[in-house]
Each structure stands twice: as structure tokens, then as C-alpha cells.
């Protein structure tokens, strides 16, 4: 079995006044996009910093790549975009990026070459020789993003990568992230915006107040959560449809309006199975739309509305 790229094992981290992360365990498998979700102050950044070995856990252990070393020792294989962006304001863009590349362990010449390619790709070509302080905030963020990816890391950890970006730039960054995942590399990113994670992630973990609420593949999470609805409209054989909808293995509840129905799928049931059953019964279907619960809804259901919107980082329990 392939070891997980990141294993967080029963990790606890306390700061002066409060516990930021409590007994957290996570496995991030190789490949794909992993979303670390939670409201502000949930402990996402603290968890990521422990993954990067910038801070050490009080209890428990974080291992990367099956325990070859810490995030810092493996920095050649890991790209990290911190939540607080940081660049040398007085440095030229290309020199700044070459320096970042070197600190990750690639040669100066290599770093210079790759910098040029990335600046072209993200449309910053004309800014190569400008000082960082002359760039707009969005451009600076792109520069920082390039600095994270320059050394072609196997694992990319992005802490709130899309915050503060306009839609166009967010789109550009999203494309890059998706491409990295397609190449078989692993991306972990944190966000407090559920909709974004929902669209991009294969797997997610939701944490709140330093504790894990749920984690796993997005589809599994949704299935286990239940509350999946199917909107049905049929034009033929409504009686057969009504019979199928009686099947409690598939359907938890159904509002039958004769020509249409709103169906809540049974816990653990596949929507495919319902569709199959309906077709076999000879029901003529006009519309079969699976309405899945949003991550936001799952999240609120799991942690309560108050926790989902909590913003205070220092709230102790």
C-alpha cells in the first residue's frame, strides 16, 4: 500500500491561551486535490504550519512521504504558499523568484530559467525587472504563487490561495492547481469558502475549533450524510413510478405529485440504482436531477451554525 503523502497523527498544539489543534488525525493520499476546510480560526493554518515543521506539535506527530523527514528537510519536494504572503519589496521580481528557487535547493541557473517560463505563463512577463513594491497586490500574489511552484514540488500546500484575488486571476491559479493534480502530484489547500472546495477537491477534511469534523472523499461524505434529493418528472407509467418510490431501500421519502416527484434518497443508496429501477419499471423519464446537499449544508449540519460562522481565533472551550 502506498503510504499517505501526509500523515497527521493525533496532533495537538496549544498556544498561550487556547488549544489551536486538538487530537487531529488526517491522511492525505498521493495525487489529487485535498481541501482543508473550516471557518476562520479553526486551526487550518496551524495544522499546515505543523506539516511544514515551522511549528512543532505539542503532542502527536506529522510525517511526510512516509516519514523521510520534516517539511523543511523535504523542502525540495514540497511547495508551500503561506497564508501571510511575504516578498522582499525592494527586490526585482525575477531575482526574488530565483532566490526562492535556490532556497528550495535548485541551482541558480535553473531557477532563473524556470522563473522566466512561469512569468510568461501567468502574464507577468513585462514585470520581470520591476521591483516587487511596484506590483499590484494580485500580481504580488501570483509572484508568490510562482515561488511556491518553481521547484516543481511533488506536494503543494496552499494556505488560502484564492483569498483576495479577482475572478480572472483566481481562474488562472485554479487552472494551474488542477493541472498539477492531473500530473499526479498532490495538492492540499485550505479555504473557508466551501463552494470553492466543492468544485475542485477530490477529498476534503473539515475542521472546526481545532477538531476534525469529517474527512474523506467528497462523494463518500455526501453519500454518508444523506439528504440527497432527486427531482423527477415522468410522462408515462406513473403507477410504476409510484411503486418504485415505495422501495425503502432506495427512497427515504417521496412527495408524489402524479407527473412529478421530489424524492429523498435512502441513506447509503445510489442515485444510479434508483434511475436503473425506474427505467426497468418502464417509467418514461423527462427529468432526473440529483440534488446533492452542499458542503456548506453538511458543514452547518455537522458543527452547528454558530461554529460554521465563528471567526474568533482565540475562542477557548
Amino acid at each position: 500500500m502506498i503510504p499517505p503523502v501526509i500523515r497527521v497523527d493525533k496532533v495537538t498544539k496549544r498556544f498561550a491561551g487556547h488549544t489551536a489543534v486538538r487530537d487531529l488525525s488526517l491522511d492525505i493520499p498521493k495525487g489529487g486535490i485535498f481541501g482543508l476546510l473550516g471557518p476562520n480560526g479553526a486551526g487550518k493554518s496551524t495544522t499546515i504550519r505543523m506539516m511544514m515543521n515551522i511549528i512543532t506539535p505539542d503532542e502527536g506527530k506529522v510525517t511526510l512521504f512516509g516519514g523521510e523527514g520534516t517539511g523543511r528537510e523535504l523542502s525540495a519536494k514540497v511547495g508551500y504558499l503561506p497564508e501571510e504572503r511575504g516578498l522582499y519589496k525592494k527586490m526585482k521580481v525575477k531575482e526574488q523568484l530565483a532566490f526562492f528557487g535556490e532556497t528550495k535547493g535548485i541551482s541558480h541557473r535553473d531557477a532563473v530559467k524556470k522563473t522566466a517560463a512561469w512569468l510568461d505563463r501567468l502574464g507577468l512577463h513585462d514585470w520581470t525587472d520591476k521591483k516587487v513594491e511596484d506590483l499590484s497586490k494580485g500580481m504580488q500574489q501570483k509572484v508568490q504563487f510562482i515561488g511556491t511552484l518553481l521547484h516543481e514540488p511533488e506536494l503543494v500546500i496552499l494556505d488560502e490561495p484564492f483569498s483576495g484575488l479577482d475572478p480572472v486571476n483566481a481562474q488562472v491559479m485554479k487552472d494551474v492547481v488542477v493541472e498539477i493534480a492531473r500530473q499526479g502530484r498532490t495538492v492540499l489547500f485550505s479555504t473557508h469558502i466551501m463552494e470553492q472546495a466543492e468544485k475542485m477537491c477530490d477529498r476534503i477534511a473539515i475542521i472546526a475549533r481545532g477538531e476534525k469534523i469529517v474527512d474523506g472523499a467528497l462523494t463518500d461524505i455526501k453519500r454518508e450524510f444523506g439528504h440527497r434529493f432527486v427531482a423527477l418528472t415522468f410522462h408515462r407509467n406513473a403507477e410504476a413510478a409510484a411503486r418504485v418510490l415505495q422501495d425503502r431501500r432506495l427512497v427515504a421519502k417521496a412527495d408524489d405529485y402524479g407527473a412529478s416527484a421530489e424524492v429523498e434518497l435512502a441513506h447509503g443508496a445510489e442515485s444510479d440504482a434508483l434511475l436503473h429501477a425506474l427505467l426497468q419499471a418502464g417509467v418514461g423519464i423527462n427529468r432526473f436531477e440529483v440534488v446533492e446537499p452542499s458542503l456548506q449544508a453538511i458543514f452547518i449540519a455537522k458543527v452547528g451554525h454558530a461554529a460554521a460562522t465563528a471567526t474568533a481565533s482565540g475562542d477557548d472551550r
Binding site: R49, R85, M91
Partner: protein, 440 residues
């Protein structure tokens, strides 16, 4: 190791490129050259040959001797330096004296416009000789240098004249009051070094000051740049790819290299300016013989002393900049550092002050003790070495103590730095610092 190199190179290149560095580095040699050329230039060009009339009202013709002495004065030191005065004697006694004096004064200080003008009139009378009050009327009477020279020339002549009038042989008196001096020579390891005491004093003084200034300029640069990296939040990016120790090492060595570069450019400039003094002065059309400038003030630096100085300079720089780095890492703003840096500044200023104590008595017990305290060895040892011999074992022990102390302080500073660079918010208290040092 490559990462440390990357940091060193970044620090070095970014700093050397700043306007402040370029200005500071290249203005100093210019300043030095100006110090060399200007006095000489002023000496030759400020006042041309002065036309002075000695109005002799004495019976003995004393004015003639004064005039002769003035004619002997040259501008500058060389054998073919031009004469300072173009002098002549006018004799006038009794009632005529005042009339002649008035007519001469009327021809004084006319500038270029009205034919031959006089610079000044020196009036010598018997009454003046007796009272010791001679009179000079001139356009340059306001120049202390010119008046000092004039008085210096006249004074021995007057003394001699008075002695003769009293019937004393002036030669006897001259011999009796001839100058007495103690020539000082430094002895090290039972051998003459060929250096005078004054010269080593100057070197010792300069070295202490160079260390002091460098620590202030570059130590504080280390500190403020760490605060900036913290407030830019660039620390976290760096901390994810390097150990805090690598970051600290790279920064201190990078800044230290800039300091050494600047110091060597300055030292090279000083050396060049003194060595090529003649050519330099020639560029400005000044005869090399004119004006000794500051050349004579820069003594030669013995090689062994330079080595001792460099070793202790580097050790001192590492020690103090590590402390500055720790201070920088525990603060969030440059303003906060003002207060937090005080203990470090205190140690440095104390170091400078021990140097003054040292200059009084290089072998006092206090100095002996301080030779083994890491904070102050960088100040004490080179200065002591330049003034009085230190046995080689003593030197080695001091160096060893300093290295150990430096390592200990760097270790503590690195531990503070390690935690400090990622702590934001409240400035760290002493208790916090202690906790940071202890945590693994």
C-alpha cells in the same frame, strides 16, 4: 549549505546595490583625498607672496635683521618653494617715523586696482622692543595663521636683541633653553619595533573606533532587516525551506561581508591616497612639497597587528550581530527595537570606554581581566596588542575564550531567533525569552 550561500548572496548583492552603501563607500575616499589636497591647495593659492615693509625706527638697525629673517621664510617645505614675503626696509627715526608710517599705511591693502600695493607694514621701534609691543598694520591682520607666523619669526629675534643689549651672549642662552624631548619607541618581545609611541596610539584609537562604528552600522542593519522580514511575513516562506540557523548564519555572514568590503575599500583608499600623494597633488597642480596634509598622520600598520585585529573584528562582529539578530527577532517594529537593543548597545559602549581606560595603562589589572571577557576582547585585545606586548599564550587564551563565548551567545541568540521570527503580537518579555531558549 547551498541555501546559506543563496542567503549570503542575496544579502550581499541587495545591500551593495543600495544608494546608501554606494554613497558611503565612495564618498569616504573622496573625502580623504580632499583632506589631502585641500590644505595643500589652500597653502599655495590662498595668499600669494606678501609684500611687507619693515619700518625700522631703532638706532641699532634691528629692522634690517627682521627683514632678513622674513625673506628666509618659504611657502611649503621643499628646497625650491617660493618665498613667503617680498620684504624691504624703510628707516625712519624720531618725528619722521609717524609721517612715514602713515604714508606706508596709505599704500596698504589696495588690492589690484592701484599699482603696487603693500600687504602690511611692520613697525619696529626701540620703545617697542623694550615693552615687547611691536605694531603691524596689514590687510591680513585678521588671519591667525599669518599673524602666528609673523610673531613666531619676530619673537626669537627680539629675545636675541634684548639679550645682546643686556650684554649676554645669546648663544649661551640658546644652548641653555634648547628643547628637550623623550623619544618613545615601542618594544615588543624584547625587540624594537621601529614604531613611535604616538603612531601606535593613533592605530589603536582608530581600530577601536572602526570596530565600534561597524558594529553600530552593520549590527543594527542585521537587526532592522530581521524586523522587516518579520513584518513583511517573508519569514514564513524562508522558515519552510531553511532552518532558522541557516537563515541567521546567511544573514550575518552576508552583512558581515558587506562590512568587510566597505572597510577594505576605505582602507585601500587611505593607503592609496597616502602612497600616491605626490601624483594626486600633481593632478591639482600642487607641488608635492607643499603641505604635508594628513599623510604624516597615517602610520604604517604592522602585518601581525592587522591579523590580530581582523580575527577579533570578525569574532566581535559575529558575537554582537547575533545579539542584534536576537533583538530583531523578538520585536515587531523598528520602533520597538529602539528600547530592546539597549542592553546590546550598553555592552558596545562599555567596550569603547574600556578602550580609553586601556589607552591610559595597557597593563592595568582591569584591562588584564577584560582581556578574557568575550564581550570586550574584540575591543581590548587589538588595542593592547598595538600598545604593549601580549604573550602568545595570552593571545590564544583570549581568542579561545572569545570563540567559546561567541558560540554560546550565537547559540542562545539562534534559539531566541528561532521562536521570535514566527511570533507576532506582543513584544517578548524576559520571561518569554527564557522560555524560548529552554524549549526544544
Amino acid at each position: 549549505m547551498n541555501k546559506v550561500w543563496a542567503v549570503i548572496r542575496r544579502e550581499f548583492i541587495e545591500r551593495v546595490r543600495t544608494r546608501a552603501f554606494l554613497l558611503g563607500t565612495f564618498l569616504f575616499p573622496l573625502f580623504l583625498a580632499a583632506m589631502m589636497v585641500l590644505p595643500a591647495l589652500l597653502l599655495t593659492q590662498s595668499s600669494g607672496t606678501r609684500r611687507v615693509v619693515v619700518l625700522d625706527g631703532t638706532e641699532s638697525g634691528f629692522g634690517g635683521r627682521v627683514e632678513e629673517a622674513l625673506r628666509g621664510i618659504k611657502r611649503g617645505d621643499g628646497p625650491d618653494a617660493p618665498p613667503q614675503y617680498e620684504s624691504s626696509v624703510v628707516r625712519a627715526t624720531g618725528e619722521r617715523l609717524e609721517a612715514v608710517q602713515d604714508s606706508l599705511i596709505a599704500r596698504t591693502g589696495l588690492g589690484q586696482k592701484a599699482g603696487p600695493s603693500l600687504s602690511g607694514v611692520l613697525v619696529v621701534t626701540d620703545a617697542g622692543l623694550a615693552s615687547g609691543r611691536l605694531q603691524y598694520f596689514g590687510d591680513n591682520a585678521g588671519s591667525p595663521a599669518a599673524m602666528g607666523e609673523l610673531q613666531g619669526t619676530i619673537r626669537p629675534l627680539v629675545t636675541r636683541e634684548r639679550l645682546e643689549r643686556e650684554g649676554v651672549d645669546p648663544m649661551v642662552v640658546m644652548r641653555a633653553i634648547g628643547p628637550v624631548s623623550v623619544a618613545t619607541q615601542r618594544v615588543a618581545d624584547g625587540k624594537l619595533t621601529g614604531q613611535s609611541g604616538d603612531a601606535t596610539f593613533a592605530i589603536a584609537y582608530a581600530m577601536g573606533f572602526i570596530l565600534y562604528i561597524s558594529l553600530l552600522i552593520y549590527g543594527i542593519q542585521v537587526m532592522t532587516s530581521i524586523v522587516e522580514e518579520k513584518s513583511n511575513r517573508i519569514m514564513e516562506v524562508l522558515a519552510s525551506s531553511m532552518t532558522p540557523f541557516q537563515m541567521l548564519l546567511g544573514k550575518i555572514v552576508g552583512v558581515g561581508a558587506v562590512a568587510l568590503l566597505q572597510l577594505s575599500i576605505w582602507a585601500g583608499a587611505a593607503y592609496g591616497v597616502t602612497t600616491y600623494r605626490t601624483q594626486l597633488l600633481g593632478l591639482f597642480g600642487v607641488d608635492a612639497a607643499a603641505g604635508s596634509g594628513i599623510a604624516g598622520m597615517i602610520p604604517s600598520l604592522p602585518g601581525s597587528l592587522l591579523v590580530v585585529f581582523l580575527i577579533f573584528f570578525v569574532l566581535g562582529f559575529l558575537l554582537y550581530s547575533a545579539m542584534f539578530a536576537a533583538v530583531g527577532s523578538m520585536c515587531n517594529t523598528v520602533q520597538e527595537t529602539q528600547q530592546a537593543q539597549f542592553p546590546v548597545m550598553f555592552l558596545i559602549i562599555l567596550g569603547l570606554m574600556t578602550m580609553f581606560a586601556l589607552l591610559n595603562d595597557p597593563n592595568s589589572p582591569l584591562v588584564q581581566t577584560l582581556s578574557y571577557v568575550p564581550f570586550w576582547t574584540p575591543f581590548v585585545i587589538p588595542v593592547r596588542y598595538s600598545m604593549a606586548p601580549i604573550p602568545i599564550t595570552g593571545l590564544l587564551v583570549s581568542a579561545a575564550v572569545t570563540i567559546l563565548g561567541m558560540l554560546a551567545i550565537v547559540w542562545v541568540a539562534a534559539r531566541i531567533y528561532r521562536v521570535g521570527i514566527l511570533s507576532y503580537g506582543k513584544k517578548a518579555s524576559l520571561k518569554d525569552l527564557w522560555r524560548w531558549v529552554r524549549t526544544a
